[in-house]
Symmetry: D2
């Protein structure tokens, strides 16, 4: 089939390659003309025969909105837009409604795979009407990993991004689990080779997992991670997961703790701990450490 693909960055570029390897035609657009196949959204739309499928793979928020705004004016009834970026699930319904006014279908798709996706395939979670999903199915089949798993029609519009968001929330807590365990093992004298403990866990344990394999790989590069700063960004999806949980009154203590650990890692000198120090000093005369030393 033919696919229009907007956004050829780290993710989009590899996805174009994987879809082409599966025998499909991909017309790619990017603001970077050197990597683009066409040089405007208009040209992209004209180059596809209908019903068209156009996959948007640009940053969530303004860039995605602007692209959908333009596609709404260019596409025809019966065409389908897929938002494969990291949009907040709450944006999806608005995008679907905006496009539906023109008779254009909408499918939201969460994509996992990162730098490993080109070779191993991308995990896909998508939401939308069955008829719209069916038009995109050959592309989903090309992108997904081989085997029976890796792609799911999760539900209505928004369900794809929601499922991907929850995947990332789970990922936060799993990473935090390994990180906490690793720090504790490194802290005790009796355990003399933490890296080998991690390596051994890759078989026969309850915690064997791809993240564990990656941890071993990281420790093989740098046994005590001495070259790294203890500093972690967060990408938005962890925040949204907590917000969604609050909306539904679902307690998420481990995932939220993982998010907060990242926030705290980015504070050189946490304001809240200044207040703790100040209060201890006030009531107990406990020594404080001054910043002027």
């Amino acid at each position: 089939m033919e696919l229009g693909l907007i956004g050829l960055g780290k993710m989009g570029g590899n996805m174009r390659e994987r879809i082409r390897r599966a025998g499909h035609t991909v017309v790619g657009f990017d603001h970077n003309a050197e990597i683009a196949d066409v040089h405007s959204l208009g040209e992209l739309v004209e180059s596809l025969s209908g019903p068209r499928v156009v996959w948007v793979m640009v940053p969530a928020g303004d860039a995605t909105q602007a692209t959908i705004d333009e596609l709404a004016t260019l596409l025809s009834p019966g065409d389908v837009v897929v938002d494969g970026g990291n949009s907040r699930w709450t944006d999806d319904e608005a995008h679907a409604a905006q496009l539906a006014e023109r008779g254009i279908g909408f499918v939201d798709c969460g994509v996992s795979g990162g730098v490993w996706g080109l070779e191993n395939g991308y995990a896909l979670m998508y939401g939308g009407d069955a008829a719209d999903v069916a038009k995109v199915q050959p592309v989903f089949d090309a992108l997904k990993p081989e085997g029976e798993f890796g792609a799911v029609h999760a539900g209505k519009v928004g369900a794809g991004h929601f499922a991907k968001m929850v995947h990332n929330g789970i990922e936060y807590a799993m990473m935090q689990a390994f990180a906490e365990g690793w720090e504790l093992l490194e802290a005790v004298d009796s355990v003399t080779d933490v890296r080998e403990v991690f390596r051994s866990w890759q078989e026969g344990t309850v915690i064997r997992s791809w993240l564990l394999d990656l941890a071993v790989r990281a420790l093989d590069d740098d046994e005590h991670l001495a070259s790294l700063r203890g500093f972690a960004q967060d990408s938005g999806e962890g925040r949204w997961t907590v917000e969604a949980a609050i909306d539904h009154a679902v307690p998420l203590p481990a995932i939220t703790a993982s998010l907060f650990a990242r926030f705290a890692s980015r504070q050189d000198d946490a304001p809240q701990m200044k207040m703790i120090a100040a209060l201890r000093n006030q009531f107990g005369g406990h020594a404080v450490e001054s910043t002027q030393k």
Copy 2:
């Protein structure tokens, strides 16, 4: 080689079988005479040629202590005792010192594998002197999974149980991660098939893992887990992990949250939340729910 194995319960019985399949001789003792090969520790010790290796696989605490007390009087210098039970790592040094007075070696070994161990092998983490470990090595090789992973000499006496304990702490937080994510997905209307979302995650995602596979298996048995109560025991090792972290001033927010979630799951009517309700009523006149309704 020959091994004396004390404790032939769910774990020990399967371990005897797996070691025998590897061609070793196992003399097993259990208080249940029907499954025992010998009927006293004395008989067990006499039936082995030296240097003897005796593996203790009985409940941690009093039962393990009593067994080691008796072995200390029966074994000879150069023999080795392995504690493969779930002992607290802090017991190991005392056991090693007690046996060392008699010239008997000691190795602690954390064993993971559960009901899957007989077929897939057991993950093993052991601690002790290299010479003692060497005497047990053929048994470790028989028990561990095939392949290059699954067994590790983690360090000094105590390191085996410590590493296994941390493994379990990580396990707590990973389970909590999937549990939180599952509850959130079940809470939203747009995601219409949570089980298929979980199933799809088994390939191509960051969170693919054995625990995820087990979650899918559980959901295949009972799609919404309607037949289960939301009630979880804890086995001691999660508690010890948090205590060890406190000893070393290591923050473990996700693992501790997971432990506390289990505590809370066992409270029908949490006392602390009665106090919250009482305080809200005091200052705001907020309605309370009476137990007498």
Copy 3:
């Protein structure tokens, strides 16, 4: 001065009384005609001489929005609207902008005090331009507690509700602190009179506070809180506090834990703990408790 007051419920009714006791004229409107002084917003506006100050004390969200919509059509340039309800701080800027189009000023005001406010005064946190605040000042002075504390011009529009929201977030964690401590004291055998321990803490301790006084009062009513269910609602402001923290990447572990404890208290059979039970059963053959017992 003259004040129009819209909403004469539990809070508004008492506030009318307190303002009148200070010698001001209050014209109150409520949908309940029996307690209202006037019977429409139009009548209320006409009964005040300009520049008018109208205080809105109705439920946040739709009711507040509808009231502001109507006031925007009735009031005149130079008048001021005060939103004293529990609006989300993010609504305040929109309300201010909407009214500013008509030349009407806007002040947001967080009010604390509950059932105790009539006698003790209400703590007030307000935000807005100094000129607008000045028009409301006599009312603030009437409502606030005697003494030098209890009222603050916290900053720009939105700052009042934001400060009140954070007050409530702090309140959540303080309540949780006492609740956790109380449950732990109740759990140990050696402490034979927990209520007297709490009572004693009211002087000389670091934790002496009004909430502690209220806890003692609650325990005097019911020593072990046996008549209450361990069940706590949340009012929205705890949720907003966590959301605001996420927006600003501020870690709030204690406040969030307190919010989640309330969520969990409302779950009879937590779905996430069903998943924990299911996983334990899958890998370890651990017994599960069935709902069919």
Copy 4:
């Protein structure tokens, strides 16, 4: 009455003064001869008429144990030892049993008050047999604050230190509550005077408390706490509170979060966050920050 007081440091010295002001005789011993009244425990014991009451106010652990060991050999049946230090509650039963062998009574007493105690009185929580407590009562009455509160016979031996420990656990979470709220207020632009917000909360709010008063005092010294490092020690009692909760399967999410926040505040470059950074880099190619910049 007469009291022997061992340990005349910051706490003990002020306590001697307060007890003397109440008209009692205090014979004080300290290793610092300049501040001591007598120069050995033997001299202290001889200078008191029986039945003697000796109050131990030295660091918990080895120093307290050594003092009790020596007193056990010097005192007579019917005398009473009070441990007023910060001993772990689990030590109290052993001390009571050790002294009981000689017919000597034992009372444990948690003391709160810090640098404010001399003037305002000390909050006291004590445990032990009624007959032993009665012998110490005049001293308790001298130390406690004026008024009806501030001292409690909490229960059996150990109950005093347990109650004080829980007091400190509650204190940790209350401090964290204010600290989190303060950081969040400081993070938003609309709130232009956080210090005045805190000041205003001292009347009419739910969260009015001595800790709030101290926070205002600290902010008056240094409005943004700019001169302090965000670094907080912990004194042991927070750790013990969490350990006691684990022993009793009581979830303490807010108190534990507060303890972990202190641990984290003391890590310049948290090892666990290095692992998070490493994993993000492994699966996503996310940039890491090197320590070699």
